[in-house]
């Protein structure tokens, strides 16, 4: 037997596979196009779906709830002014010393009945520090009518949908009735300084803002508050920051909760909606997979003779299997990469020019608002969305590549060469 010095495995299989896929240009291009369209559509769909949720959550967090809230222990399960607390300067300083925390805003939050001469409605009353709050949430920019208020004023800001419902305008008066601290009755009359538009339809229907001291007087809480709303530099590491803060405060007195804990229903709704989108994607990918599989079957069946010849002259079956795997993976990845490249400007366009349902359909707008969505859908530019599509195609093609391996395992050289 002749033995010669052997070198490392040459990369001839990728070359052979690449040339093979262009043996039938039309078929390869059609398959590429199907993968391309699948990636384009799925990237766009996921970007818009994720973008809409991100925008909604960001709106909610940045304009209202903050990323993390600190309450008196038990408040989250039983929100009541009776579970309010006095936020010491030391506590606030400690929290604000965390590098991620931008500011901790004191708030007093409870429910009340808002009445006018002829109409009434249950509302959410939020006492805020006008100056500090505006610095972070830029409330003045959301004033749709009238003006902003100042600390100590006996005036209120109404969300504009609520104002429309109660038929109120700036300068009118609103009466609030509620139960105050430890069961005392709370009643107050406030002039409306201005109307505020909130992006979240839910909030826009129900919110009355009062200066913090005015709210504390209304509920009789003294200088107590119900929450410290924490705003962070960015929305990353919220959970980690919440955990760190838990170690810094007395958890026998306080609870430190991230927004996913204070609004679990929102997380749940997002997860359900995401699951629905994934199901649609799965249907799309199943259709594309059948297209790719059809191509793969043709690629394999029409080359049975060639497989026989190659095995006859000394090519091992596993090398042939790898060659077919590379062929189908090249088609899949090329389609995915082209789809990613093409989807980027499309997604970017919808990122810059969000789909605005209010301009398209009033019925759809009403439906979205009823479910608490702002009917504006910006696309997310998260690069993971694009990369995930390519990885998914890679996974699909890798699974499909089992077919040529299976065919090759069963292949009888003589029968193949007679085919």
């Amino acid at each position: 037997m002749k033995k010669q010095k052997r070198t490392t495995e040459p990369p001839f299989l990728p070359l052979l596979a690449w040339r093979n896929i262009w043996r039938n240009k039309r078929r390869t291009l059609i398959t590429l196009l199907s993968v391309f369209m699948a990636v384009l559509l799925s990237s766009l769909m996921i970007s818009i779906q994720q973008g809409a949720w991100n925008a909604m959550i960001a709106n909610l967090l940045n304009t209202y709830t903050g990323y993390i809230q600190i309450h008196r222990k038990g408040y989250n399960d039983n929100p009541s002014v009776n579970l309010s607390f006095q936020a010491s300067q030391e506590l606030i300083r400690k929290i604000e010393s965390h590098p991620k925390v931008q500011i901790a805003l004191p708030r007093l939050e409870s429910f009340a009945l808002a009445s006018t001469e002829n109409l009434s409605r249950g509302v959410l009353v939020l006492g805020i520090n006008p100056e500090a709050e505006n610095a972070i949430t830029n409330l003045t920019a959301r004033i749709s009518k009238g003006k902003y208020f100042a600390e100590g004023e006996k005036s209120a800001l109404l969300s504009d949908s609520l104002a429309a419902h109660l038929q109120l305008q700036p300068g009118d008066t609103i009466v609030l009735l509620s139960q105050g601290y430890h069961g005392m009755s709370a009643a107050g009359k406030y002039s409306i300084a201005g109307l505020v538009h909130f992006p979240s339809p839910d909030i826009n229907r129900n919110l009355v803002l009062l200066p913090l001291k005015t709210a504390q007087e209304f509920y009789g809480t003294g200088n107590r508050i119900t929450s410290l709303a924490l705003f962070l530099d960015s929305d990353s590491d919220v959970e980690k920051t919440a955990k760190t803060l838990q170690n810094q405060v007395d958890t026998s007195q306080y609870e430190v909760l991230s927004w996913t804990q204070t609004m679990p229903e929102l997380v749940q709704a997002r997860d359900v909606d995401t699951a629905g989108a994934i199901l649609m994607l799965a249907v799309l990918y199943v259709i594309v997979s059948f297209g790719i599989f059809g191509t793969l079957i043709m690629m394999v069946r029409e080359r049975i003779y060639e497989m026989g010849v190659l095995i006859a002259i000394g090519m091992k079956r596993y090398l042939l299997g790898i060659m077919f795997w590379l062929e189908i993976t090249f088609i899949g990845l090329l389609g995915a990469i082209l789809g990613m490249i093409a989807s980027f400007p499309v997604v970017y366009y919808f990122h810059q020019h969000p789909i605005n349902m209010t301009q398209l359909s009033s019925d759809a707008t009403a439906i979205y608002e009823r479910f608490g969505f702002e009917p504006i859908f910006p696309a997310s530019m998260d690069p993971n969305i694009f990369v995930q599509q390519a990885l998914f195609i890679f996974l699909i093609t890798s699974i499909m590549a089992l077919y040529p391996f299976w065919t090759l395992k069963k292949l009888k050289v003589m029968e193949a060469m007679k085919s």
Binding site: R6, R19, W22, I313, M315, R317, V413
Partner: protein, 227 residues
Amino acid sequence: MSLIETRQLTKTYNPETVPVHALRGVDLCIEKGEFTAIVGPSGSGKTTLLNIIGGLDKPSSGQVLINQTDIAQLSENQLIDFRRDHIGFVFQAYNLIPVLTARENVSFIMLLQKRPAAERKARAMELLEAVGIAEKADVRPIYLSGGQQQRVAVARALASRPDFVLADEPTANLDSVATKRLLDIMARLNEEEGMTFIFSTHDQRVIDRARRIIRLEDGKITQDETP
């Protein structure tokens, strides 16, 4: 010690339904450097014999020894390696890889043998020159005539420095000029380099050039002559 030895080789197709006896006890010895034609009418068992000697098919009974190696004892992967390293194949339909150039087709077997790039390149060009087609080294098979393709196939068969070349009806698709040229090349390789060639053929032009003629009829050797 014979290069190839077959002992009481039989092959029966469809043994349980309609048995077809392709080979009925073939005893044969082929020595190194022979230029042998296996001839006979269609269905006489020529191709079956060649396929069994080449390890592409298994006999129903009997033995094939190549350099004293009983190829029936080799596993599937060992047999593939054995064919790659010891046997060159030339097919009737050339069977070149259509996406590779002539040179790449010749290099292909050496790639499978993981030989160094420089050796592959040099050997491929040397073989293409030997078969008179070096100027078409970078051309793909589709742009070559049948005769040119078959010459590339011969070069490919020799690339692995095999012990012998099995050629199944190598001239069946060639015109007389291409046939003559191919036979000239193979005869020269046989004479100058001692390469063993075994053909199955019923082409008289091949038979006329053979130095040993084995006639098969109904799966049996009826004549074995050295003209």
